[in-house]
Symmetry: C2
Subunit: 399 residues, 2 copies
Amino acid sequence: MPASPIRKLVPLGDAAKKRGVHVYHLNIGQPDIETPPEFFQAVRDYREKVVAYGNSQGNAVFIDSIVGYYRGLDIPLTPKQVLITTGGSEAITFAMLAVAEPGEEIIVFEPFYTNYNGFAIMGGITLVPVETRAEDGFHLPSEEDLARCITPKTRAIVICNPNNPTGTVLREDELAMIGRLAVAHGLYILSDEVYREFIYEGGTRSMLQLEGLEQHVVVMDSLSKRYSLCGGRMGCIISRNEALMEVFLRFGQARLCTASLEQIGSAALVDAGAKYFEPMISEYRARRDATFEELMNIPGVVCRKPSGAFYIMAKLPVRDVEDFAAWMLTDFQVDGETTMVAPGPGFYATPGRGTDEVRLAYVLDAEACRRAVRILAKGIETYNARGPHAPNAPKARTQ
Amino acid sequence: MPASPIRKLVPLGDAAKKRGVHVYHLNIGQPDIETPPEFFQAVRDYREKVVAYGNSQGNAVFIDSIVGYYRGLDIPLTPKQVLITTGGSEAITFAMLAVAEPGEEIIVFEPFYTNYNGFAIMGGITLVPVETRAEDGFHLPSEEDLARCITPKTRAIVICNPNNPTGTVLREDELAMIGRLAVAHGLYILSDEVYREFIYEGGTRSMLQLEGLEQHVVVMDSLSKRYSLCGGRMGCIISRNEALMEVFLRFGQARLCTASLEQIGSAALVDAGAKYFEPMISEYRARRDATFEELMNIPGVVCRKPSGAFYIMAKLPVRDVEDFAAWMLTDFQVDGETTMVAPGPGFYATPGRGTDEVRLAYVLDAEACRRAVRILAKGIETYNARGPHAPNAPKARTQ
């Protein structure tokens, strides 16, 4: 079981704060947006005397609210096609464990949400990483290249759309390609759509909207980002494949139910959503624009402007980004401030990939994002200008 | 993945209720005791604006309160030896997945908490069931017999003390035997102690109190029963083995954190506990006595009086207990009432075992328990007195 690469810089960040340094947290996707007050109100209004076991599938009122949310997206679902999970995390776990036995394979696109790896390890499942590149805006490889990665042991393809960590939004032709491959090779499509609402231009579709894939598609969803409810651990898993839903329900029965209070609070969120999303998305668009603009001012940075989620994956002109990210916390500051980023290698399964990339989460207001990236720029300059005796100094980089 | 055997009678119970029949639920361990008001008050007092990700190990205040609770039991722990989990369920999952790879073995004593099986399946782990018997009060087999079940693939022994589903409390010599075997064969001891407070005479010890087992013992704990907080999904996993705690933390990091509000509420419960437990245990003792006394009035029932948890596992004089339990819901009532029980086979991994046993959860007040068991008695009499054409009729039993 690997240590969380996002979380392993945490002690260095904590130490910097103890020294009085202000740390801009671009390292973790924790939004600063307020959770809708409807959530708290519903929790405070809870008047049961016993916090009893709930239904393994989830609270019926909450499930109905999820069905209502999807109806608003023109995606008709029945309550039986939805199972409430403990965050998107449990949805991913159930999906992977249901479709693959120990030793079987699931295809993921690198870079990918780092915890896919942890969930696969729990089930002894092999993740097969397929590369995508910053230069291509992290779009998918060709159908031909992808088909070559499918083996007799392949059971599913995971997509994350909009993508964490790259912010890439998949095009219609990419979704269609995944659909064709799934049908041709008898694979499941595990579609992580937790950033669905976070799209800044253009659009995309849920895999649930593609025809002919009813038996193939599993959507893994979460309220964490959409309603700024990360600590609530409320998500769901959705499929029109009845046999698969039965397996998910059995996993659900093994762990009995999900937390009661957050289900009560979350059931109140769907109506709050419509008025909540629009200003939130405008706010994130401004943050993305500010972050990207400042990044483009750094000589040697490679990235395309992403259209979704709230992440940018960028190549930086440093040789060892893990050392650099640690150094930013231990040795660098500008006017008492520094910036914390998530090093690229944590988002890759293939050793040696992502060593000059970072993921930036633009979860602070636009001005703070600008300031954080300017500090990053100065950090890169200073880091690379250190003498030849410093580890990873410029001289070493030319080797 | 098996369907939950406890939950598969639920539709029949629901149908009985729709027909206006009152159903006594002795089938599921859902206490009717009120959750301490301190829990609800702490949740209502929560004033954060954002439900943000928590620490993967758990809320520091809540962890400290758990350490305080164990200090009260004379079990010194450091906060690093505790990780908060989503119920006892996640604690069991983490424990099993951390100690065994796919294909490796974990010993459990039959009958056992049915969901152990589901968690093992998730990790491709083989549970090796070792029989215990109603006639022996479900106490453990001899050290010699148990040692014969240990193979080169064995990684751990699970004990549940006090036991679900049998109510059996292990004696000191049994705990010591498990400890000796673990040391001799290099095994982990996964000790499920969620019913620790539910002891009606005599006593037992936590595996954490046995000396020389620091590197072997993992305790899986939960607040669900102790504070009537089943729907809160709050538990923890405890070990003094640092390497193992590091693995648990990595599993914890993969799923990010547990639900925020229930951690806030639960942190307020430890102080509430002392005054809460004593009347609760007295109440359960009265329920157990009533349930056991009525059971003993049924001709042909075999069981020993259990000393802990809130379950009794009893052999009933019926040939096929699953058919009988369903029939109680579909075809039987006394004055508009019937009793729902959990059939024995669900608590066994070995096919054919437990077919004349049921688990009774005495989670209703003593008078309701009496009434429910009297209805059960009449049900057995009527079921067995049905004509020779009925399935499983008495004639068939004599074969």
